[in-house]
């Protein structure tokens, strides 16, 4: 039945060709890789939100008698440790679940703030043009050519580490990619018919940019946003590992790797599992971004959504 969607039957309304959320849902069920990535992220989010409920142990509960137990061990009191324990007898699995809170919220909030800032500056720059655009784009080029991890390290050295400063630094250092993309999209949209139509109705500039152009260019921005979350999760791990991110005793994946490094010769599981968690999360985000890019691309979309 899918083929008659391409028939430009005169009795059909253009609205019948709209893609509904249901179409996306059916499309992801057909793509096994994207489905696995989405399922992993969904489970992660559920575990993160209900960490108190799902974690078998307290993330900071010390139990020195059960220190450095390998995975699948039973502790002295009959407790089961799925992924083993660290040197203080804390359950790795529970700490991973609680640590995901830090990684995910840093990624989401950091990418969200830089997206807001970058898209606002980029869209207005692309639509307005002139000196304003020049200034914004020069700033983008300049900041993009700096080594961002190094600048982040220095700023955190001056301000001190911690969750809030980390997000602050990320949003200041990562908005440029969004600005660059949004500006390009706005440049294209400026001459589009729907913008001309809005203009001829006397719509204000700000309204055109945010109510008319933004919804039409949202798809590539969402793709970039997903990729950026992955990048920020990796950066958070690096900075926390170096001691400039989240501070102990809060569990964070990067911090867990740093702690485990001291026992790398005897207890491989301390560094392996947090790194694996980061890898799988970032990989899922990348895969999902690829899928979103494919299904929202107007050229490819029909193939993805209507194919059996």
């Amino acid at each position: 039945m899918s083929e008659d969607r391409f028939d430009m039957d005169e009795t059909r309304d253009a609205r019948d060709f709209r893609v509904t959320p249901g179409d996306y849902f059916r499309a992801i069920l057909k793509d096994k890789v994207a489905l696995a990535a989405a399922a992993f992220l969904l489970i992660l989010v559920v575990l993160t939100l209900g960490a108190e409920f799902f974690a078998p142990h307290r993330p900071m509960g010390l139990n020195l008698r059960d220190g450095l137990l390998p995975p699948f061990s039973v502790g002295s009191k009959g407790d089961y440790y799925l992924l083993g324990t660290d040197e203080l007898g804390r359950d790795i699995f529970s700490r991973l679940i609680f640590g995901s809170r830090v990684s995910i919220s840093v990624g989401l909030i950091g990418a969200g703030l830089s997206c807001l800032l970058g898209v606002a500056l980029g869209l207005t720059a692309g639509y307005r043009g002139g000196l304003y655009e020049d200034i914004v784009m020069r700033l983008v080029d300049g900041m993009l050519s700096l080594p961002s991890l190094l600048v982040a390290l220095f700023v955190l050295f001056v301000l001190g580490g911690g969750f809030v400063n980390l997000i602050l630094v990320f949003s200041i250092l990562h908005w440029m990619v969004f600005a660059r993309m949004a500006r390009g999209l706005a440049l294209d949209a400026r001459t589009a018919t729907y913008v001309l139509a809005a203009k001829s109705l006397g719509t204000t500039e700000l309204r055109i940019v945010f109510n008319h152009i933004l919804p039409n260019v949202a798809a590539p921005i969402i793709v970039l946003f997903t990729l950026e979350i992955a990048i920020l999760i990796l950066s958070e791990a690096s900075l926390s590992f170096l001691g400039f991110g989240v501070q102990p005793p809060d569990p964070s994946w990067g911090l867990m790797i740093a702690d485990g490094r001291e026992h790398i010769r005897s207890a491989w599981w301390l560094v392996t599992f947090p790194g694996l968690a980061i890898f799988l999360t970032a990989l899922s985000l990348n895969l999902l971004a690829n899928w979103v890019r494919a299904v929202t691309d107007p050229v490819q979309r029909w193939r993805w959504i209507t194919s059996n």
């Binding site: 300049g142 700096l146 190094l150 600048v151 050295f157 790398i264 560094v271 790194g275 890898f279």
Partner: protein, 321 residues
């Protein structure tokens, strides 16, 4: 030419902004003299140092003096290396000039960066070309997986895993250090993982695009051997995006080296930055950041120039104009 000048001026402005940022942000930490001598210092010693270093002057004067000193290669003295608290009027007798320390560490970082690009560029290009020449083959799948995995993995974690496997479990290679050639293998592999995937991915799509063009059909119709067509004809025309990606990855590598050097105790500039951060050696931190930023900006500039040189449309267009 005009373009070159414009790009160089732009780079200089970026560097000036970096220097200003590093200078003023550094002052936010507190009194440099107190930082240098520590909380137990006497008022006399503090005052002597302030006078010797000109810390009593207005901040703008100090800022311009800092920039002028930088231009003549004077990045200040270290608070920790060769530091003596003897009240002296000459700064060079108080501590070792930081630029000396930074320059000492640069060769190790260059060696590491060169070694990992030595792995990554040939491997990435060959993998990419093979994938493009055989679409949907195993090579093609491997390239897709590698490029996704490369951007999803935490580099320092990969380094630790390599240590666990090759150094601890198998005992083939040392866990870290510097000196013999085999010390570079694990850190270089760690740093190469990401560029291999990305270079292969870019090469694949660029070559794939070239292979669809008519001149390839001509070359094949003439009966040229397939490897010659793929490697000499298509790769040459696909070079622009590949070179851009290599440059991108090279500047990413310079900062990625910070963590990898820390993991492998590799005495390059990255390890120096981490050490000086933990010891609050401000002039040394500032100097290392400025030097690394300058390197990154230079790489970006060179990539831009290479981009123009490689693109016949831009190269010839310029001559005619």
């Amino acid at each position: 030419m005009a373009y070159l000048i414009k790009r160089t001026v732009n780079s200089a402005i970026i560097l000036l902004l970096t220097v200003s940022f590093v200078f003023f942000a550094g002052r936010l930490i507190g009194d440099p003299a107190l930082n240098m001598l520590g909380p137990g210092a006497s008022d006399v010693a503090l005052e002597n140092l302030r006078r010797a270093a000109g810390l009593n002057d207005p901040i703008l004067i100090q800022y311009f003096r800092y920039i002028l000193n930088l231009l003549s290669g004077d990045f200040g003295i270290s608070y920790r290396y060769g530091f003596s608290v003897l009240p002296s009027e000459k700064l060079s007798e108080i501590g070792q000039p930081v630029i000396e320390i930074v320059l000492e560490r640069l060769p190790a970082t260059f060696f590491l960066a060169g070694a990992s690009m030595g792995f990554a560029v040939p491997l990435g290009v060959i993998m990419g070309v093979t994938a493009a020449a055989n679409p949907r083959s195993i090579a093609d799948r491997i390239v897709t997986v590698m490029s996704l995995a490369g951007v999803s993995i935490v580099q320092f974690w990969l380094g630790l895993m390599l240590i666990v496997f090759f150094a601890v479990h198998l005992g083939w290679l040392p866990t870290g250090g510097y000196g013999e050639w085999w010390h570079v293998i694990l850190p270089a592999l760690t740093l190469a993982a990401r560029p291999i995937g990305r270079i292969a991915q870019v090469t694949r799509s660029a070559v794939l695009e070239e292979l669809a063009k008519p001149y390839i059909m001509t070359a094949r119709a003439k009966g040229l051997p397939p490897t010659r067509v793929v490697y000499l004809h298509s790769l040459r025309n696909a070079a622009i995006p590949i070179v851009t990606m290599i440059g991108d990855e090279l500047s990413a590598l310079l900062t990625g080296a910070i963590l990898v050097e820390k993991i492998f105790a590799w005495p390059g500039i990255g390890l120096l930055i981490i050490d000086s951060l933990s010891r609050s050696d401000l002039p040394l931190i500032q100097a290392s950041i400025i030097v690394v930023a300058a390197l990154v900006v230079c790489v970006n500039l060179l990539v831009d120039i290479a981009y123009r040189l490689l693109n016949p449309r831009i190269r010839i267009g310029k001559k005619e104009a």
